[in-house]
Symmetry: C2
Subunit: 359 residues, 2 copies
């Protein structure tokens, strides 16, 4: 069977071993005579999967028992709403704006009418960098950032320093590296990049923060409702959580987050190296010190009209998902965990050949 | 391969043909070299699945172009919040309370502080019936009901008469029968009973109602946001929608909703017939004229201590999911579309034998 190389920004590629495992037991989970997709969430069979996934996540990142792991629905977009609803006490909430997703998060804070401030933004340079110059308020209700920007291909190397709870949207670099847990209040992400299918949001929350919520907040949108119910106050996305658990096993087998991060670093180095080597033909969007190791956005500056041709020929060569996001255009290669070093080599060879033929 | 008979209340059984189809193309959808679970939602490949599912639903029920079909996340529980948020204009919202789910919906309306009234309830008889005596207000913002009550096993045979928009939670009898579309405002349900996996909420909404929403409502919780974006304002549960589409094909192959309803009626008649025939040993919870054709809740009144034994022996005989909900206890057989007449015969034979041995 011919499988393509998947550079989709999300939903994205899943390791073949994981897909095969799910396929193998799709009609009968562990020989029980029914698919996990048909299992009740109220049985030990499913609960064990959920509890195990929770434990694996805590262990991979090193979260202490001060934190709880929730599996919610509605994507990052619903977190843009739930975060101010649950964490704002009327003091200032701080946001750093690094692209489309933080802009949306800020918009939802504004709609709720909470007290907030955008303390830094890279909008003036079309979000090509992570801001470095700003002052944080240790007394803020929280400081909100997006760890990695899928569209513009930028990424925090280190999180901002603050004593306020730090809220991190890690949707597009979840499970790609270890992160500093200093003052993490909420660390969350839609899992559809490195964690499996779309439709599950992982939310790691410092337990005490869940107590801030007012009784005017809808019950189902309170974190503490789902904490008390082990993420099953309502029926969770059971198949998505099952796939996530398989993905976590794969990450553990690969050696954990440090090992994964090192591999991801090598892949990014190879791809950025090619872009820099062919400078003048290709050009990366992100400034060098803000480059993401997950999403590499670039243009064919020699002739932008070649970009659709690039995407089409790449597809003919077995590579999908290389068209840039509509906000930025150009080319974007998302090199998530499931994309191997060898896969990036194929892309880089193609890029060299394409530049030679069309340069 | 031995497959069990699945009487789960939800998530529940999926027809073997549907599972096999999904399994077969799990590594490579239509020979494209990637799984549908790995497909971007921003490609025609996935969009076609979503658009087709939408059209099939409109056709199966007969919804006109005044209605839009959305695929959301968060289950019925999030609809309990979104409905008052989007539809309440300050006039009265009416609710009929027929069990746990409507109680939760009423609670969320109360938390939001909207003007609402519970115009009828069957709580005084432990939700064993659908109320028949109440007065509706044609000027209300909406009238809210739950079409079928999974826990207590009751079901509306006909929807209430009102000129106000009728909001129907059909989570547990979705795709099980045709319904009257008179004055339907919103017709919705989590799909995890008759429509596939957990994690997708189908919401059919009369388009004009989506315009009522105030600009103080979170953007992502406005129906009109998702209407404008074809349910893709944020990444939807792509695999869940794909499975739903396969389920809809299966329903169409079976002959559509009228045919399905007729089969469901025969299954229910067989099972209730057995309960009534063995009256004194078994006893159904719901009053006869309120009986659900989807969820059959009953007790072993001869000796309630036999109930765990019943569930255990049934499991040993290849039948799962028969334990009653914790709110009611006893036994519950959910006989959704995927449970065949022959499956119900196996249960009924077992019930007769169990009564003979233990009666």
């Amino acid at each position: 069977m011919d499988r393509v190389i998947n550079f989709n920004a999300g939903p994205s590629g899943i390791p073949l071993d994981v897909l095969k495992k799910a396929q193998e037991e799709f009609l009968s989970y562990h020989g029980l005579g029914y698919s996990i997709i048909e299992a009740s969430h109220r049985t030990p069979i499913f609960e064990n999967i959920l509890f195990n996934a929770r434990d694996k996540i805590k262990k991979l990142y090193g979260f202490s028992d001060d934190y709880d792991v929730l599996f919610l629905q509605g994507g990052a977009s619903l977190q843009f709403v739930q975060i101010p609803m649950n964490l704002s006490t009327g003091k200032k909430a701080e946001y750093i704006n690094t692209g489309v997703w933080t802009t949306k998060a800020i918009k939802e804070a504004q709609i709720q009418g909470i007290n907030y401030e955008v303390i830094a933004s890279s909008e003036d340079t079309n979000f090509d960098r992570i801001p470095t110059s700003y002052k944080t308020d240790d007394e803020a209700d929280y400081l909100y950032i997006c760890s990695n920007n899928t569209i513009y291909g930028t990424q925090y190397k280190e999180f901002p320093k603050t004593k306020a709870p730090l809220v991190v949207d890690s949707s597009s670099d979840l499970f790609s590296r270890k992160v500093s847990l200093d003052n993490i209040g909420i660390f969350y992400g839609g899992i559809q990049k490195n964690g499996g299918p779309a439709g599950v949001t992982m939310v790691v929350i410092r337990k005490d923060l869940a107590e801030r919520v007012s009784d005017k907040v809808p019950n189902i949108l309170r974190y503490k409702t789902q904490m008390k119910a082990d993420s099953m106050s309502n029926t969770p996305n059971t198949f998505g959580i099952y796939m996530l658990d398989l993905m976590l096993d794969w990450i553990i087998e690969k050696g954990g987050l440090d090992k994964i991060a090192s591999l991801n670093g090598e892949k990014a180095k190879l791809l950025y190296g090619c872009i820099d080597e062919l400078d003048g033909f290709y050009k990366g969007h992100a400034q060098r010190n803000s480059r993401s190791i997950m999403n590499v956005s670039y243009n064919i500056v020699a002739n932008k009209e070649l970009e659709p041709k690039f995407v089409k020929e790449a597809m003919e060569n077995g590579m999908i998902g290389l068209k840039g996001h509509r906000h930025l255009g150009g080319i974007r290669a998302s090199i998530y965990n499931s994309v191997s070093y060898e896969n990036v080599e194929v892309l880089v060879d193609f890029m060299r050949e394409f530049a030679r033929k069309n340069g």
